[in-house]
Symmetry: C2
Subunit: 366 residues, 2 copies
Amino acid sequence: MNLRIPGPTPVPAEVAQAGAAEMINHRGPQFAAMLGRITAGAQQVFQTKNSVLTLTASGTGAMEAAVVNHVAPGEQVLVITIGVFGQRFVDIVRAYGAEPVELAFDFGSAADPAQVDDALRANPGIRTVLVTHNETSTGTTNVYLPQISEVVHRHDALMIVDAISSLSSIPVQTDAWDLDVVLSGSQKGWMTAPGLAFVSVSDRAWARQETNPMPRFYFDLRRAKDALARGETPWTPAVSLVFQLDKAIEMMLAEGLDAIYERHRRLARMTRDGIRALGLELLASEGLESDTVTAVKIPDGVDGSQFTKVAREQFDTVFAGGQGPLRGKIFRFGHLGYVHEPDIRAGLVAVEKTLVSLGYAVANRA
Amino acid sequence: MNLRIPGPTPVPAEVAQAGAAEMINHRGPQFAAMLGRITAGAQQVFQTKNSVLTLTASGTGAMEAAVVNHVAPGEQVLVITIGVFGQRFVDIVRAYGAEPVELAFDFGSAADPAQVDDALRANPGIRTVLVTHNETSTGTTNVYLPQISEVVHRHDALMIVDAISSLSSIPVQTDAWDLDVVLSGSQKGWMTAPGLAFVSVSDRAWARQETNPMPRFYFDLRRAKDALARGETPWTPAVSLVFQLDKAIEMMLAEGLDAIYERHRRLARMTRDGIRALGLELLASEGLESDTVTAVKIPDGVDGSQFTKVAREQFDTVFAGGQGPLRGKIFRFGHLGYVHEPDIRAGLVAVEKTLVSLGYAVANRA
């Protein structure tokens, strides 16, 4: 099966096998050494000297950690949204009794730093800004992240970034862009099975945590920091996934970050070219297309609700459908993590065959 | 290495290999079928018709879920403690702004139903009782759980049970004992790597959740229930651990619950007999010794802080030390999950050799 969704992504055989190693004590020296290695490796991938904490949770758990550790009940929070995962931040902020001020941009477009500046001027009490770097739901990258970070810090606010589906595949310069809190997840570019999430925390964010009255326990990052200093996690970690991640990070560092970024750029371009050659349109505006996932509009006359089913059942390829308001209107083609040219070629063939099977007359053969 | 800690426990090769299977879409039919199987299997192991939800988290995440879904801020909660993990419930309740009323029993003893009754009479506002079934920190089983449940329901309170290190190894009759919320974790008797936790929820507990104002999101069990009805989890689950669990439950049901319980009883007895034959004392009072983990007092004249290190480095066996106030005073010998006679025999030999190496004159050779 060609798994062409934007996560979970294919796990290389070496990584999968590493996860099958003999179980160990999570409070012993072997685990401590491994936790030290993956933390140092993750810091390289995050391009940061900040703490990077590894949680046993989905990416959504890391999003919750970002909110509960830095946002106070009742506090106004600016949430910049460009799709479904930005909305998830809105939902979490609201669930925890804080007040989201949503600055929404159209699906397929990027956030405009000038409008972020306006929103922060209009709401001078805001101390925290939440933003998605790469919208998995729309295949769009928020390309002005460094400029937004500059604006946010000019207003003395914390910059919290969901980089779950970008970091490790697309450059995210945590320190150079002065990002206070950055999130990622094992099942994306990290080539590891789902179940681990990462959070990087700047000194500014640690200071905020000290006085933040929001209740928290499992996702209390101070506990994770204290435990990490002893080579441990506060709660029993997903040891077999840490085995996998240890191997995956070794592979990533051997390939090199620049080579990984270049591979993702090349395969994303190949995907987009192939999609356009079929006469299809992308959801993302030009120049904002994500290098990890491509969202494709279902062409007129094709039953979008059948697309993923037909591709899976007839053409052995798993695409993702649209989420929320995009259900049935797009499909999404993942090209992140352990992915190479043959996967993209096979994916494009499956797109074409699926559309033809659903009655689409392919317009412009490449 | 003989992994003789009370979790993570050894993962059988078939289970470990199942976890290395090709990654799949967590929102597709193959995952839905698997989630259906593990849920039905877990219900058998829980001996319940209640919902059983599988979370991507440590056991502590399940403990947090039990608290945030059923306890309101400011509410008084009775927490029955017999060791360190009971204390964790106290900490979670306090972290979430509720008021723990602790009914503490000495380490090594079980909770007395009459004293639970007294505590509930003295605090008539209490609607929720938290209790540990099997104290991993002291090797003690709270054997009067059915009687406590009867008392709790007479006072119209919810009965929430941490059965993380008992259920699947020691009988826990969720329905017959009328337990409202019961917790377990994959890395214990389930023979699966850590990272998945289970929560069963009675109708009474679901009703409580509907009106409970406590903020929650990642661990919101209503979201897990709604997703399960669609064959999904609300957030990306630890798919490779679900692969493992699917295989492990198949093995458990093939062995049969009664046979599993009997094996644990037999191996626990063998462990205790062997420990006593070395002239050592158990922490648990007679008749309350856990069938999943044995806590052994470090004999006089032996440096308890060195025990686990020497056992690991010189005798290839990993025991757990004491936690909290028990640090350096006990060691713990795990005998749950995928464990058989040779593991126990080898563990006992390692205990003896370690003690001798630390200067103990073994008194009564069996």
